[in-house]
Symmetry: C2
Subunit: 267 residues, 2 copies
Amino acid sequence: MRIAVVAPSCPLKREAAERVQGIVAGRGDCELLVHPQCFLSEGHFAGPDKARLAALREVMADETIDAVWFARGGYGSNRIAEAALSDMPAAALAKQYMGYSDAGFLLAGLHKAGGRATWGPMPQDAVRQNGDAAINRALDWLVKADRSSLEPDLRPPAMAFNLTVLNNLLGTSLEPDFAGVELLIEDVSEHLYRIDRTMFHLTASANIRRVSRIRLGRIADVPENDPEFGSDEVAIVEDWCHRSGIPYGGRADIGHDAENRVVPFRI
Amino acid sequence: MRIAVVAPSCPLKREAAERVQGIVAGRGDCELLVHPQCFLSEGHFAGPDKARLAALREVMADETIDAVWFARGGYGSNRIAEAALSDMPAAALAKQYMGYSDAGFLLAGLHKAGGRATWGPMPQDAVRQNGDAAINRALDWLVKADRSSLEPDLRPPAMAFNLTVLNNLLGTSLEPDFAGVELLIEDVSEHLYRIDRTMFHLTASANIRRVSRIRLGRIADVPENDPEFGSDEVAIVEDWCHRSGIPYGGRADIGHDAENRVVPFRI
């Protein structure tokens, strides 16, 4: 099993790459090819659009690569997603892709194009507390399709997205068909009024209204509201589900943390 | 000329209401009816949804009111907009509505429903430095249709929106027809990576791609990016206009400040 790491958004920390290579060496069941593009830096991004696109296209087309693992989130994969997904060779459709957060732009587009997109931990998570568990959970799925890595209550077909990323891909060429899909959402560092506004936008979508249910992952590091918003994330999501006729399915075990579980869009 | 003030989003400061009443008394050309709902407070909002909706519906239906002036932005008008705009009486369509920022949800829906929506300063702006000028600019337009209040380079039909608010009303029942419209955008307190992401989403819309051009108002109080984003707001907007085939028309004199000019959606 050969796994390539590229960074379509922000640069990967060298320390994280080294920790992941250490874990991989200890496991002995896969080979990790960290593309040098992961360490490029230009402003906010892991190198210019052209370099991030070229690295991604390169590993997508490589027949010797079994899986592409997005190095980390941040912001920027949307800037190259449409170009990355045009004229995909057969090798690109055969392999699995894993990531979360900003990588959701690519996961959405890959799934729409017929590819194998999976929500799950990323190499940068290695530097979180208990990051080793996150890395092994991701590798257990990629290498062995170990079902203990999965979010425990999935009713496939399922998809998982960062709420703000999903909000920003609705109406774009990356938007997949949500009919019958169990939709898991999570977010980080967003005020509750923003979560409320995003849920308004999300649940107004006719496509989103076709999901089988919405389940709520963790809403982490919420900045303080002055005055207090007056509601919490569960009440907010339940309210907009109720208003739009979408079944609310309770909490989900995903989030911007080391406990984040795996959600394959195709299973 | 009788102007009613209601607060569909956040509460109006008493100090601002008093300053505006002072300005109105000095002018002697209009009467200002500040609805008591403006001073309600429940969590983030100027009272519960029901109270904000009732006050808005009340002044919309009142035949003795010539204009409805939204007290301030913040967040929350989207929560009542669809209900406010259903079954509108003739009196509601006859009068003018003015506001900006979060009030854009209502302006969009009012315009779509055939109403007279206008971007312009709000009563809460009275407490800004040079706030009196903003208040008089708004009143000069509402009372006398004084063209010196207008954004100086408008090519009607024109609309103006806070970029983040516009992003969150695309795909909802509030989204108006943008064909042939000059679109002015501005934003405040958003990281440049968010402006970039929002422009990606905005310019992917087929409806938005029918605008005659996009002009960029002020992007104010941008939080620091670490590392620096690597681009500025003009380059970002030009980039996404270029990618999506939308003409970029240069800067516009609107923003979250006392210099904010008036943009009537129908003229």
